[in-house]
Amino acid sequence: MSMTPPLTATTSSRGTPVSPGRNPVVRALSRPELGSVIGAIGIAAFFATQTDQFATSAGIANVLDVTATLGIMAVAVALLLIGGEFDLSAGVLTASTGLVTALLVDQLGVNIWEGIAWSLLFALTVGLLNGILVTRTRLPSFIVTLGTFFALQGINLGVTKQLTDTVQVSGVDEAAGYAGARAVFASSVTVGDGQFRVAILWWIAVTVVATLLLVRTKFGNWIFAAGGSPMSARNVGVPVGRTKILLFMTTATAAWLVGTISVVRLTSVQANVGLGEEFNYIIAAVIGGCLLTGGVGSAIGAAIGALIYGMTQQGIVFAQWDTDWFPLFLGGMLLAAVLINTAVVRRRAEDSPG
């Protein structure tokens, strides 16, 4: 076997389930979220030393406020990216779901929980449609969801104008059940002089559930396989199409959660919000270690990617730099992340072919 390096260098005795024998440092170096963890620490250290507000209770609350809703979406989008697909309609869908709730409440006077339930059904339908269109037509999801993106954008504006003669719906706080909805989706606690939003808990919960789903369940295994090598997965009986459809429904559900959090908090919704956000989700997921070609990534990484986004955006404000420069940082981080991700994957898989 001169051409093949030895598989492992452990000396553990045979017969018992051996704990992974590779050097833990080597193992950590091949984790998809490694780059994002280092980046997050670096950025936090930078702004904490360069600005007065960053490392305060208020500063942290500000950063986490931006991070939480972005993070919920980034984690869901990461699952979809690992499964090998894109969803460009996710950003606009956060507006659509908010609008469904707000219009039902405003126009029909329904209980807000009823509005939220219909909104979830609407989101699941959009996700199902995206999934079926992509798996049946075998067209790139980039194109299919670009279509649903524009369609939803048109519906958001068209329907809202038709029904309210304006481009916003308000008065959500007058609905029955609003107090309960506010407690669940938009309450906050004040620590020091910082107001921490309940959305932060949603973000953490979504990240934990997504992580367990990815690494501890059968479905998680199928997500990696569907993105990593769909033909191989199909050959061993993995329902690749169904897996992808469920992933589109997952991003749609996340969009519903974010849309609901925002409509309950602001008590109104603009028909044109969410536009362009879809790229931020993808950027956060990629900064967190997701490969755009599928098969690699983690939910934790995407959550950290969102944190990096939030820290940079707020840090620039705290440092009193011109915020027009933020996209430049974002673009630079994205490119750096893509390069690091590609290098890590190469480490993982292509270093020692036989």
Partner: protein, 288 residues
């Protein structure tokens, strides 16, 4: 000099060492694991395959040889359930079947290891091993992968095929081509395959790696599987084959056992003996 001949020694060693057999099946003795009678397939007006009759028995390696376009891949696609035949009969353990998906074939114990599509390279070895048949424990919504069990089984089953993997977390992509084939074979055997179809497993491999795969073919046979080994290389087929089926332009031109033929005849037959004679005459004429 053709270096391809070296692996034969390895295979002989594997043969001598023997292996453990599967428990006896419930199929009556002398019923072939798999049989085809007058099998044929057309694509539009084009005959891709016709009149193929052959049997595959437990503990035998049936080699399917033929040049590109001879109909080998059509035959595999029918046997593995990717496409359905439109002529003749396909019997599994004596019962007629018509598969509409690879999953159905798999459920009847017919597993196919496709050359480049055996595994998902970026996933770990144990995740690949159990992909599509993951063991779980607990009750929904707390049902989760039984990771410890899966890793333990993966290491143990690969060890039975002589692959010493101590870290089942390693991505399959870090394994060599031959080792990846081994993972796919061990997986098929573990999940109860009775017939193993191997599509050109040695085609893109170097000599050592090819030898390794051939050794796994022999090990699968020793464990009582019927192996269908598709190749265009008679030097890979001859050392492991019990029976040789030769295809040419969609038709079966030979169906012989190992006793009936030696490597030279096989090579001759494979490359279309007459054509080869003619070719060497041409070359000699040119040289004069």
């Amino acid at each position: 000099m053709r270096p391809d001949l070296h692996p034969i020694d390895d295979i002989q060693a594997a043969l001598d060492s023997g292996g453990d057999r599967l428990p006896e099946s419930d199929v009556p003795p002398h019923t072939p694991l798999l049989e085809v009678r007058g099998l044929g397939k057309r694509y539009g007006g084009v005959v891709a395959l016709q009149g193929i009759s052959a049997t595959v028995n437990s503990g035998e390696v049936t080699c399917v040889l033929g040049d590109n376009g001879a109909g080998k891949s059509t035959l595999i696609r029918i046997l593995s359930g990717v496409v359905t035949h439109d002529q003749g009969q396909y019997l599994v353990a004596g019962k007629r079947v018509k598969f509409s998906s690879p999953r159905q074939a798999l459920d009847r114990g017919i597993a196919t290891v496709f050359q480049d599509l055996a595994v998902v390279p970026l996933m770990s070895i144990w995740r690949n091993f159990f992909l599509g048949s993951e063991p779980t424990r607990g009750i929904w919504p707390f049902r989760r992968l039984d990771i410890e069990h899966a890793q333990h089984v993966t290491v143990a089953e690969l060890a039975r095929f002589g692959l010493d993997v101590q870290d089942p977390h390693q991505p399959v992509g870090t394994l060599s081509g031959g080792e990846r084939q081994c993972v796919a074979i061990a997986r098929a055997v573990y999940f109860g395959a009775r017939v193993l179809i191997m599509d050109e497993p040695t085609a893109s491999l170097g000599v050592k790696q090819a030898g390794m795969v051939l050794r796994h073919v022999v090990q699968a046979r020793e464990r009582g599987l019927g192996v269908i080994f598709i190749t265009h290389n008679p030097r890979h087929a001859y050392p492991v084959g019990d029976r040789f089926i030769m295809l040419n332009r969609g038709a079966m031109v030979a169906n012989v056992t190992r006793e009936d033929i030696d490597l030279n005849d096989l090579t001759q037959l494979m490359s279309g003996g007459a054509d080869l004679d003619e070719l060497s005459h041409e070359v000699q004429d040119q040289q004069r």
